[in-house]
Amino acid sequence: MKNRAIFIGLLFVAVHVFGFSHQNDAKLAWQTPAHIEAVLIELMLEVDPELPVPVLDHEKPFTRGLNNTVTWMDSMDAVYEQLLDMQMTIQFWAVEARIAGIDTVWGFVDGPERSAAFLNLPEGIGIEYRLRYYAIEASGTMHISDWSRAEISVQDASRPEILTFDILQLQNIGDNPWVLGPQIEVHVQAMDTDGQIMQIAIQEIGDEVDRVLFDDLDAHPRTVIDTTLQYTLLTDPNMPLTIKGWVVDVAEFYSDTLEMQFFYMASDPKVVCFPNPFVPYQDHCTVIKIENEEAQEAKIYDPFGNLIRILHKNSLSDMAFKWDGTNEQGHQVASGGYFCIINDDRDLYCKIAVIR
């Protein structure tokens, strides 16, 4: 017990003398193994500049969860070779995590170990990880290396949140939403308060199609995303399909999934009407789809050019008109053929059959 107290006392001295930058409230991350503790008692607390500086494996900027295991596997070959030349072996490692502005935790691990795990780290704060080693000569003399360059990572233990997953120009007129396709634009808004969003995932599920595409945000994860993605649908036009969307943060947490059902139609022809023939008894309206949103007025005529009805859009951005099969006086029109002309442009028309 007395020895232990001495060890800790020495360690504190060492911290202050040899530049341990542990703050006053630095604490042990885990229990120091007994044999290390035994060695430390006889430790020469002097940094040997001759020793190669260790290198920590690269830390991802965000670490999933509250725990983080730092490793020094791939980056240490050169260090080992040098130490071999110097006839030294690593006795143990000292690893510390400096939690900026809050705390520093650290600990020792045995020489053969190549990793150290910090538990219950605070979330959302940049944590610097450093590593040094204690090497021993054949003569039994102990040397201490300088600290490795710090690797920084933030702990991320919460899921990102997807706020919006909309298809631009989606027309909600009629019984089924639709959009012009197959190139569509998806508007995504998402945020991750304690982390950064790394990916947006779009899944298309249609007849004979099930595909997921990820957008990596140009390798620039962001806390808040408000972006529009181009997506090309694989499903055949005019077939019902489902689009799902979610985001993934750098800690590989997945957000909830938003989805919508719709279909798309090919851009050509310029004006189409569906369902056609239109049976008002079965469908409450027929939709006249247009190519762009500039058109403001659609006129329904009978085959003799008599004006039946003037249709206006519900909102300026709509790309379709809706006709319930009535004339200007609100009377149901008869079974027969009609045509619809957009914006008085003779080239923008479609033929509608009404069956009662």
Partner: protein
């Protein structure tokens, strides 16, 4: 000028009126393809056709109009509507198919007052894209609507005019073909059949009440028409079970054919160069159940190019429907056994390129024109038949058979309308009737009315008199002369009467009156000739001729012969004029003895027989105290007596001159008859 302005204003208002009636947007009712209108001619006239339809489109517009057509006609129309929609019509009419049928049943159903017609009209729209509610494209389908029509019309000629009624039975079909029913089941897309009934009426109000106030000449080009489309309403079956009925469409209107000659003053010489050139106007109104009205106006110029034996038919129409205005043109080339017609029309559209359509028609069989009816009228044994055909001749006004028809009708069954009928064709009988009217008015002392009638009468006589060979008989020339005298045209009267080769007493009296009106001394000779032709049944004329003779002699200062003439008159036994005495001059009473005695007195004074003169005037006063000249003598006798007692002969001469002037002023035909 004023008239023309009024016409312009009326037409402008009519057009403005139709434009102001905007469609209130109840289009889309079932059966629209049976309301739009077939035929290029009808469209060219703005669809104002319910009172015209005298061609193969009558089956559609108004079946009763089939009987207005002169020939059987096969007509086809084709129109490329909007976006590959096609609208077509084929019609055949067979008016008066079995004219000579004797079997009463055959006659009733196919006879000379019956017409049959068949027609088909179809609308097809192709290239509908079939799409599911997910806009899944399933291919293309087409839509078609057809109507097969069978028409029958019958004609009845009655006292008031010609009434025609027609009926059209139609079978209607609608179908959608080419639908992909495997992927998308469309309820109600199967063929839908229905049937319905239209009726139509036309009326030519030849002698109808109210219309009768208009002379036939201006009335005959008028035709009234009405139709009820879908009287028995067809309908499309609805998916949910009920039927969507075609609306009942009520149409009525009139057409009027302005024969330009009739409306241009005779004084304008180019009038005669117009021939049968005419402008046909038509105006229709339309209502249909639960919807707004339609107003239609159209006109067609009918220009004969005689040298080429063709008709050019420019057309214009305006209505309050979508097309608004239409312009058309027709070309007709008739031959003896057939005729060809080509019609074209273009209607405008506020957004689309408009409707352009062509119509090709072939007419066959000999034309059942006025000549045809005239011929039949004379072949037919029954007076009723004759009346019917004669009326039909009238309805084809104008034509060269009118006079015969008018003679036929007026002579047989239509006497109440004799004057109207003769007024239509003019000529002798018309002139005679007008002269009778003039004389009747003279008897009623309606001088202005009499003069107007006499003028019309003389105009009716004139064309015959002006012929190179004078067609007038002696009596007709006398009548003509009388008409001219009543109308105050003395010089013309004298010219006419002088031409009479064997003048009668009446001719001579009239001639004398004419000369008297012209202050021509040849009156003496004329009256002398009259009095020399004394006939027991013409006492009035003799007496009047004596008086006229005497007046003329006095005027010529031949006092002795005048006194002889007056003496003869005063001794003549028929001093009281009969009821039918010629009213020129008009006497205030039926006695001319006072006139004669008064003139005798004056003449005696003028001849310096002062004592006799004053004595005669005193006798006038004594014998005829209540007659005109008895009263006149009474006023002057004191002064005359005093002058005579004083032997103041100058004074007597002066008084006699004054009295003579006063007498002339009342008796001179040129200023006395028509005071």
């Amino acid at each position: 000028m004023k008239k023309r302005m009024i016409y312009s204003v009326v037409i402008a208002l009519l057009i403005a009126g139709t434009r102001s009636l905007c469609s209130s947007g109840d289009a889309g009712q079932p059966g629209a393809f049976l309301r739009y209108g077939v035929g290029a001619r009808a469209m060219g006239m703005g669809r104002a056709f319910v009172a015209i339809a005298d061609d193969a489109s009558a089956v559609y517009w108004n079946p009763s109009c089939m009987l207005e057509a002169e020939r059987a006609e096969l007509s086809s129309m084709y129109s490329n509507l909007y976006y590959d929609s096609r609208y077509a019509y084929i019609g055949l009419i067979l008016p008066r198919l079995l004219e000579s049928a004797e079997n009463p049943w055959l006659r009733w159903f196919f006879g000379p007052d019956v017409s049959w017609g068949v027609g088909w009209t179809g609308l097809s729209m192709v290239g509908f894209e079939q799409r599911t509610r997910y806009n899944e494209y399933l291919g293309q389908f087409d839509m078609g609507e057809n109507a097969w029509m069978l028409s029958w019309a019958k004609e009845r000629v009655g006292q008031f005019g010609i009434l025609r009624a027609g009926i059209t039975y139609k079978i209607i079909n609608q179908q959608f073909t080419g639908l992909n029913n495997h992927v998308m089941t469309v309820d109600g897309a199967g063929p839908d059949w229905s049937n319905g009934l239209d009726i139509g009426l036309t009326f030519r109000p030849i002698h109808a009440p109210v219309f009768r106030v208009v002379s036939l000449k201006y009335l005959l080009p008028l035709q009234l028409g009405m139709s009820i489309q879908n009287l028995v309403q067809p309908g499309w079956d609805k998916v949910e079970g009920a039927s969507h009925h075609f609306p009942r469409v009520y149409r009525y209107g009139f057409s009027y054919r302005f024969i330009l000659q009739d409306w241009i003053p005779e004084a304008w010489n180019f009038r005669y160069k117009l021939g049968n050139m005419a402008v046909l106007f038509a105006f229709d109104r339309e209502h249909y159940s639960g919807a707004d009205a339609g107003t239609y106006f159209g006109m067609e110029g009918q220009i004969p190019i005689t040298a080429l034996n063709v008709w050019l038919l420019p057309r214009f129409g305006v209505n309050n429907q979508t097309e608004g205005r239409s312009l058309g043109f027709g070309f007709s080339m008739p031959f003896s056994s057939a005729a060809f017609k080509l019609d074209y029309v273009h209607t405008s559209h506020p957004v689309l390129e408009g409707d352009t359509r062509f119509c090709l028609s072939v007419q066959f069989r000999h034309p059942q024109n006025a000549g045809h009816f005239q011929k039949r009228a004379h072949d037919a044994s029954l007076s009723k038949e004759m009346l019917r055909y004669d009326h039909l001749v009238l309805s084809k006004y104008p034509n060269e058979y009118l006079e015969n028809a008018v003679n036929d009708i007026a002579a047989t069954a239509d006497r109440p309308y004799e004057k109207r009928l003769y007024a239509l064709v003019g000529g002798m009988r018309h002139a005679e009737l007008l002269l009778e009217d003039a004389n009747l008015l003279l008897r009623k002392r309606d001088i202005v009315g009499a003069r107007r009638k006499a003028l019309e009468s003389s105009r009716a006589y004139a064309p015959n008199f002006l012929q190179t060979e004078n067609y007038l008989t002696g009596d007709q020339m006398i009548d003509y002369g009388e008409a001219l005298i009543i109308s105050g045209k003395m010089r013309d009267a004298v010219t006419v009467l002088e031409e009479i080769e064997e003048p009668t007493i009446r001719a001579n009296y009239l001639l004398g009156t004419g000369y008297q009106g012209l202050s021509d001394s040849r009156a003496i000779e004329a009256f002398n000739s009259a009095v020399n032709q004394v006939k027991p049944d013409q006492n009035d004329l003799v007496a009047l001729s004596y008086l006229g003779w005497a007046e003329s002699l006095v005027k010529d200062k031949q006092y002795q012969p005048a006194m002889m003439a007056l003496s003869s008159l005063l001794n003549y036994n028929a001093i009281e004029l009969g009821e039918d005495y010629p009213r020129f001059p008009i006497f205030e009473d039926h006695y001319i003895q006072d006139d004669a005695m008064f003139l005798m007195g004056i003449t005696q004074i003028m001849a310096k027989n002062y004592q006799d003169g004053v004595s005669t005037l005193y006798k006038t006063l004594r014998y005829y105290p209540v007659l005109t000249y008895g009263e006149t003598s009474n006023q002057l006798i004191d002064e005359l007596t005093i002058a005579l007692e004083r032997k103041d002969f100058d004074r007597l001469d002066t008084l006699a001159n004054d009295m003579l002037l006063s007498y002339y002023s009342r008796h001179d035909p040129s200023n006395r008859f028509f005071e």
